[in-house]
Symmetry: D3
Subunit: 246 residues, 6 copies
């Protein structure tokens, strides 16, 4: 059930404690992929995961602006502070929980959101009346995960599957040639860079031409299956907190 499409009476009659909250970002993804890439991905994975699951699941609307200050030098990138992002997620989850959707998977499409989501879900679990856990789709696609990059093979392939009209195929050569090979500038395990403009000429990391719609479909299926497994586990889990060790 998509909450935005449902009426309150529909929700009243829908009996589950499981919900998905998709979270995207609006940020540069190179000259070939749209600013809304992470939004599209989070929404597509949430949709596919809800379908792949045996459980009834409520799907909340997608949060469009996240933690993306690292891309601020690239025109069109939008962001809020991590603190504001956490508050926005925490309170939205709180309102879901007030209606009985108190086991929530936050379906995340953006690497920059990962730390903030882990923190805020921990806060929710320990201090609020809900259990929440973040699921970042590209961490859950098996070996493919190592090729993530940014606007690279995975994200571009996924777009080719779910929104091919949004990919500027005619700029693929430009996108590939200006791409960085890895995220960050590393010395002895430390990333010295904070802004992607420090190391990515055109904002791309990884080769966006290295994958196609078929790979995109495979990725979406893998992410949806993984999300369905997470929903199973969240449904069954004893989410009470442990007793103090005595």
């Amino acid at each position: 059930m998509h909450l935005t499409d449902a009426t309150w009476t529909d929700v009243r009659d829908f009996d589950t404690d499981l919900a998905l909250l998709p979270v995207g970002s609006t940020e540069q993804h190179g000259p070939h992929a749209p600013l809304g890439t992470d939004f599209l991905a989070a929404e597509a994975v949430a949709e596919a995961g809800a379908e792949a699951s045996d459980h009834d699941v409520a799907v909340a609307p997608t949060i469009p602006v996240g933690v993306a200050e690292e891309h601020r030098q690239f025109p069109g990138t939008l962001w809020v502070s991590e603190e504001t992002f956490r508050s926005y997620v925490r309170e939205t989850v709180g309102s879901l929980a007030s209606h009985g959707f108190d086991r929530i998977v936050v379906v995340n499409g953006h690497g920059g959101n990962v730390d903030a989501l882990r923190e805020v879900c921990g806060t929710i679990v320990r201090h609020d009346d809900a259990y929440a856990v973040p699921f970042t789709w590209f961490e859950a696609v098996g070996e493919h995960a190592t090729r993530m990059g940014h606007g690279g093979p995975l994200e571009t392939s996924l777009l080719r599957h779910v929104a091919p009209e949004r990919v500027r195929e005619d700029r693929m050569k430009e996108a590939t040639e200006g791409a960085a090979e890895r995220w960050g500038e590393w010395v002895a395990s430390v990333n010295l860079a904070y802004d992607s403009a420090e190391f990515a000429e055109n904002g791309v990391v990884g080769d966006p031409s290295d994958g196609d719609a078929a790979l995109g479909e495979e990725l979406l299926d893998a992410a949806a299956a993984a999300l369905a497994r997470v929903l199973d586990a969240v449904d069954e889990r004893d989410v009470s907190r442990p007793e103090r060790r005595t």
Copy 2:
């Protein structure tokens, strides 16, 4: 230009300082209209207004969750605190302004957001590097504005025009019969009620059957024309702050 569809290079090559930021809400709108009504309305009006305008305008993604705690007793209603909402809007506007979109109209679909948007836009204008002004579509439709209600004739008619499949026409009798006549409980100019569940049995205020798709089209056109006039005015306005009176 819709930012979510554009690449950063598209934005770089797009020369305007005008942007629209649609802001909705996910909240009960009676048994006949979806929780996403305000989201749909804000997005449709922003789209139509951008088209009606002679200016180049960037359209940001729609913020889906707003100030709707007043509907919390109705299942499915989502909300954040006014403080968090203001921060989310302020920082999103700040990131728009960092790219040169520093004259922003916040296109609002929800009455509960009005005060918070007026406050945060004032803060932005006085203390940040942008000019922003809220535009609430149903305040800008002339005499129709007096019939606003909640999930009532105006919103339902607009939906019939822009998303007729989302209106449960088969529940219209139920929606109408359970509707309240006015918003709030008033004594001597004071509204004593804080939650819509105090005065609206099924969440509806006004008669949702009193209007059709044709009225919806008229409302959308009126709102779009009004928004275009606001864009003209914002484009031309001297937005510098006055000097201290001496």
Copy 3:
């Protein structure tokens, strides 16, 4: 009972749950009316309302500085942020409630405070242990309300009745000639102005000479009667929150 005059033992022996919290502002009111106009009005209305009521009512001291940044270009205007104002009011109300005064009417003398008071009273009602409602005197004077302005006929008349020595009658011509006709600069239902110095040459809106002490007395009586009705309603009201709709 005025709290500032009472001892704690007097309060202990005073049996009511009703209190008034007057809230003013210190801000420009044109060349003819004092910066303390809203303070004087709030205090006078609270006093008159308490007398007009059949109930025992505690009257708290008047908060002197409110939300008036919109007048900052005019010398002498004092203000705090809306956030600080809300915290100050919320915590003061909380301390009233801790002593059993848990049904509070905030008697407001300033338009700039209205939104912040509505927000904070909603927060108090939903999340704290008290019921509070804002009462803005010039909204409760029937048809006169439409002529409010700023430092205009209503406020000046009220002052002529309650504090005539504070009105500079010798500057009335100057005040009238420099006055604006309406508050704000409007395009398609949107006020484009944020600071009163954008549209009010001498800070006045409306004609301050259009009213006298007799009108002032009428206004005070009307506001006091309205406030008494609100106290009746607050006294009787079931202030518990509604159940979730199921």
Copy 4:
């Protein structure tokens, strides 16, 4: 010049950078003295100090509610958190400074405000565009200061001089007999008590009968003279911050 009485044009024509901001509290002062004692004292001292000074001085309205949670067990005591109190003072001072009153003496009538005022004035001096310093009247009355107590000889005497009708002389025996001898419960320089109800049966510390209106006049004169000396010093002082030691 009292700001509340002045118009903005009066303030415009008033040429000084000195202002007084009186700060009181609304809190129990025993069975014989009103909750507004600290408010009355701060206002009276500010008034007398401004008169005693050779300088032109703007006097702001008195802040009525301060840091008084320590008296919360006594009915009628009002308070805000120290954080909110500091914000309210800081922003009020900021608005004073925006009009050129950027050398401010905060005239304080309440011991519980002392620490918060020292902190916030330090913040203002180091980080804002003003110089501010707190002046607590009963610390500036020479040897009398040692007898301060609470609702004791000094405060009661001052009231007998400035507002004798507010002192319940008929309860003086009760006030005296229930009074504590000292503030707090001390072990090895540490005060173990946090609430006055832990050590003061009727809220009084010190003997309120040990002083009369003549003493009150002497105290007021001494405080006013001290405040005038502080104004002289603040007027002359180089308030720029020192250079870093190199």
Copy 5:
């Protein structure tokens, strides 16, 4: 028991509700004494006090950076805001209390921390699940307390006893000659100075040569004995809050 040395199983088996939380500062103490003077003093006094006490006491690690912005012009001085300092102390105390150490003495080595500690301990006692009280060692050494200064006779003597290698005896003449006689610049009971660089040429107040290791030992013994008495009192005290006066 020092918490940093203990394992969690040791703590589990340690049966007491008493804990010490030493709090220092890292700040200039003249040319002869180290920046860590207050840290060393707080730690030494906590250690000695725990030994002098008959009670089992847990000793937490020492907080190294406190409220020292007043010394910011002197190189090497570290500080956080009072708000951050209070949060850090409050939450650390909260975690101690969660393990049953809910009667805490905060052992303080720095005058600049005093007000913030009094405030935060009051907040803890009134609103959290613990009793906490600050103990500032140099206030608890009897008549010596009047000679405190800064980097002066007391602190330097204490260092000569507990860490003589940290005192630059060869700079004592320089330290003494540049020392100020008193803390601050006072007019009519008001300290007009906010930064120590306004009145202390080399950062020293008082004569650091006026005391030796023997005095240091005497001071440490006196402080330890005082702290032991405070622990006795805290152990025995009824720390419940008083009832409201009715």
Copy 6:
């Protein structure tokens, strides 16, 4: 140079812009290792790294309490919220920078601090006047990093080298037998656990007996060498932020 040992005049005469800020935690490390393990490790690595570096480096005092709520069920664990921790680090770094130490490596001993440090260092680099980067020692020891665990082979070995008296060798069998094999409870790339008590019976992850003092020495040398390389890179790096892409 250790700041706590230096005088302000020593710091004045010390010419470098490099500083280390060690950050630990006080938290359970199983039945065999002390609560202060992370503190000891951070301090030892900072010390060794400063020695291994060719640069002059200031070493700040070690922050003792960090982000460790995940271990709260184990007695003795101390923690502050991530928000407070970030503020404490940010402001401490700000004070370092005010003295010219504006290239800072935060030497971290605790996994729970990693996300918060990355966030706060990003905030510092983008918005404050300093460059800061976190260095977590166990991420910088090459292949050993994969065996980290908690209170496991790496930390226990390091302790055996730097503080062998703190390791309870007699409890090693107990520690090993109750240890978990991995951190967390994972399904499809998602860790469903938030508290270590959910998956670690005695708080240990990994085999603490699998390593000795020789390994500890090797780890310390590797971490120190890595830290020296990071200092080289930080010293040379152009830390200005990139221009906006145009």
